[in-house]
């Protein structure tokens, strides 16, 4: 079992550009959540996808959008990048309806906006 995989591992983008990050959940998991982690901070919840729909969302602007595919993999898109979007982006997978079980995280994508 490969666990949660994210790509790419590192990315450098210019302010104003758009970026797409990808995530494959752990085998058997149907729910994908995305988090943003700034340096020295804890992860902050961006949104969660289940059955190809956004199930819940954190306090992030509409520039942040996502998608979930029939195979449960997911993408995070960020438009009009700002310097403040530089962070480690984490994907976590879990099984819906099992609130109270562990979340499995990927290794993250380090995004640098210059």
């Amino acid at each position: 079992d490969a666990g949660v995989t994210q790509s790419p591992t590192h990315l450098i983008k210019t302010r104003g550009q758009q970026v797409t990050l990808r995530c494959s959940p752990k085998s058997g998991h149907d729910t994908v959540s995305w988090y943003q982690q700034a340096l020295g901070q804890g992860p902050q919840f961006i949104f969660q996808y289940y059955e190809e729909e956004e199930r819940q969302r954190g306090n992030f602007p509409d520039r942040f959008s996502g998608h979930q595919f029939p195979n449960y993999s997911s993408e995070l898109n960020v438009n009009a990048l700002l310097l403040g979007d530089s962070a480690l982006y984490l994907c976590a997978s879990s099984l819906v309806g099992t609130g109270g079980t562990e979340a499995f995280f990927g290794q993250g994508t380090r995004l640098t906006v210059v």
């Binding site: 959540s33 992860p43 919840f45 609130g99 979340a103 993250g108």
Partner: protein
């Protein structure tokens, strides 16, 4: 306002001692609380989950307590080793929907 607070200062302890990390929260009533370990540049790794009706939970050298009256969880690592050096994050799920709210984490450094 809702907050989860962990000691932002690094905790430095000697190998073999017990490390105790604190997580305090306000204006939440979580059904459970989780602890994760995070190494630099890596994603968090789940360690333990404790439910509101559990006072204490153990796993090998790890122990977690949960006091819903004090709104506090304590995380203990006994017989600490240099390999335990990492950042430890507490997290709660306010709506029991797998949306985790994390504290800022406490960096633990165990020196020989």
């Amino acid at each position: 306002s809702q907050k989860i607070e962990q000691n932002s200062e690094a905790l430095n302890i000697q190998e073999g001692k017990t490390a105790t990390l604190t997580c305090n929260y306000t204006n939440y009533s979580p059904a459970y609380l989780q602890w994760y370990r995070q190494d630099p540049g890596r994603g968090p790794v789940f360690l333990l989950l404790i439910r509101e009706n559990e006072k204490e939970k153990r796993k090998e050298r790890l122990k977690v307590t949960f006091d819903t009256t004090l709104k506090q969880s304590l995380f203990h690592i006994t017989a600490s080793q240099p390999a335990d050096s990492a950042t430890y994050l507490c997290a709660l799920d306010p709506g029991n929907t797998d949306k985790l709210i994390f504290g800022t984490g406490t960096r633990l450094q165990v020196f020989p």
